[in-house]
C-alpha cells in the first residue's frame, strides 16, 4: 500500500493526515481513497473521475500525472495548485 499524506481541508474531511491506500496508479489510488473515506468524494476527482484541474498530486516528491504508477510504500501528496491574481 502507498502512504497518502493529506493536509488542510482534505485532512479535516478524512480525519487523518496519513492513510495507507491501495492502487496501481494515481487515479486508482485516488478512487480507492474516495471509496474508503466517503467524506472526500468529489473533492479530488470530479463526477467523471477526472482529477480536478487545480489539484496537484506528487509521488515521492515528484509531480505525477493521473496514470503514473504507484508502488508499495510510495509517498503520495495531494495539494492545491499555486494560484493567485
Amino acid at each position: 500500500m502507498a502512504i497518502v499524506r493529506l493536509r488542510g481541508q482534505l485532512e479535516k474531511l478524512a480525519g487523518a493526515s496519513e492513510l495507507s491506500i491501495e492502487g496501481g496508479n494515481v487515479t486508482e489510488l485516488l478512487q480507492g481513497l474516495e471509496r474508503e473515506h466517503s467524506g472526500l468524494e468529489g473533492w479530488i476527482l470530479d463526477e467523471r473521475g477526472v482529477l480536478r484541474r487545480h489539484i496537484n498530486v506528487f509521488v515521492n516528491g515528484e509531480p505525477a500525472e493521473p496514470d503514473a504508477a504507484v508502488e508499495e510504500k510510495d509517498k503520495i501528496e495531494i495539494l492545491p495548485a499555486i494560484s493567485g491574481g
Binding site: G42, W43, E47, R48, G49, R52, I55, P80, A81, S83
Partner: protein
Amino acid sequence: MTELLVGTRKGLFVLEGEPGAEFQVAGRAFVGEPVDYAVREPRSGRIFAAVTSPFWGPRIWFTEDAPAAGDWQSARGVALPKGGKDALKRVWVIAAGEADGLLYAGGDPGVLFESRDGGETWALNQALWEHPTRPRWRRDSGGLSVHSIAPWPGAPDRLALAISAAGVWLTDDGGATWSHGNEGIVADYLPEQARASAIDLCVHHLERAPKRPERLFLQFHGGVYRSDDAGRSWTDIAAGLPHDFGFPVVLDPADPDSAFVIPVTTEDRVTDGSVVVWETRDAGATWMPRDRGLPQQNAWLSVLRQAFAATGEGPELELYFGATSGEIFGSGDAGASWFGVATRLPAIASLRAG
C-alpha cells in the same frame, strides 16, 4: 436592520445597516473563494452559499449560525451522476420551494437539484437532465446555467425556470415533466429563418409576480418581456428603455404591474456612463428613470444577473444592487432615491437582501 448577503469573487460578505446610510461589514466567510450566490432561506433561517472552489469544485454550504461564526456544513448530493461525461461546474441560484423543507438549486450544465430536507441533501432532477432537447441547448459566455427559479405561491408542483441559453421551462407536476415557454421571444442574435424554432434562447433573468403568479417578467439578451399566461407566451415590453440589454430584473412583491431593470449597452454590457434603474408600474407600458442619488457621470458599471435584489414591499420596498466594481447602491423608498451602501468590495456576483 437590513441584511445583505453579498457573494463576491473573493468570498461572502454580510452587510448590515439601515436604508440611507453606509452599511457595515458584519461578517465574512469563504475568504478568498468565489461565492456565486448566497441566500437566507426564510423559513429555516439557514444561510446557503454556492461556492466554486478553484481547487475542490462547486459546492453548496449551509449554516444555522451567524455566517461570521463559520460553522458551515457541506450539503450532500450536489453532483452529476458518477461516470458520465459531464461534471458540475457551478451552482448559480438557490431558492425556497413552496412545500415545507423544499429547496431548489440551479447550476451549470443546465441542471436543477431538489432538496426535501431543508437543504442538507439534494438530488438531480432527472427529467430536465435527460430532456431530449438537451443536445440543442447552447452555452453562453457564462456557461449553460439554470439561473432563475420561480416557484408558484401556494402550488408546490408548479415551477418556472430560465436557462441560459435554453429558454424558459415550465412544470406543473413537480418536475416530472418539462415544457418550453418561449412563444413570442425573439432572438435577434440568430438568423431570421432560425428564430421560430430556436431553443437556444439566452434568458438573462426571470421573476414571477407573487400576487399574480401567472405573470412573469424576463430580461432577455436583447429585450425585456412580460408573460400573463404563466410563461407560455411573452410580449416585448422594452419600448421606452434606453437599451433593451441587461441582466437582472426585480419586482415589487406587492404590485404585479411592477418591474425594475438596469439597462446596459449591447456593445460592452455596462451602464452607458450614468447609472439608472428603470421602473415600470404599468406592466411595461411605460418606464420611468430612477436615478436620484446614483452616479450620473463616468460610471460604467456591470451589474450581474444575481446582483439586484429587493426586500419589503410597497412603499417599504428596499432595493439593492452591486456591481463588479465592488460598489453597492440601495434605495429605502422603492427606488425614488438611492444611497451608497458600500464601496471597495471585491467584484460582486450576487446580492440578496432580507
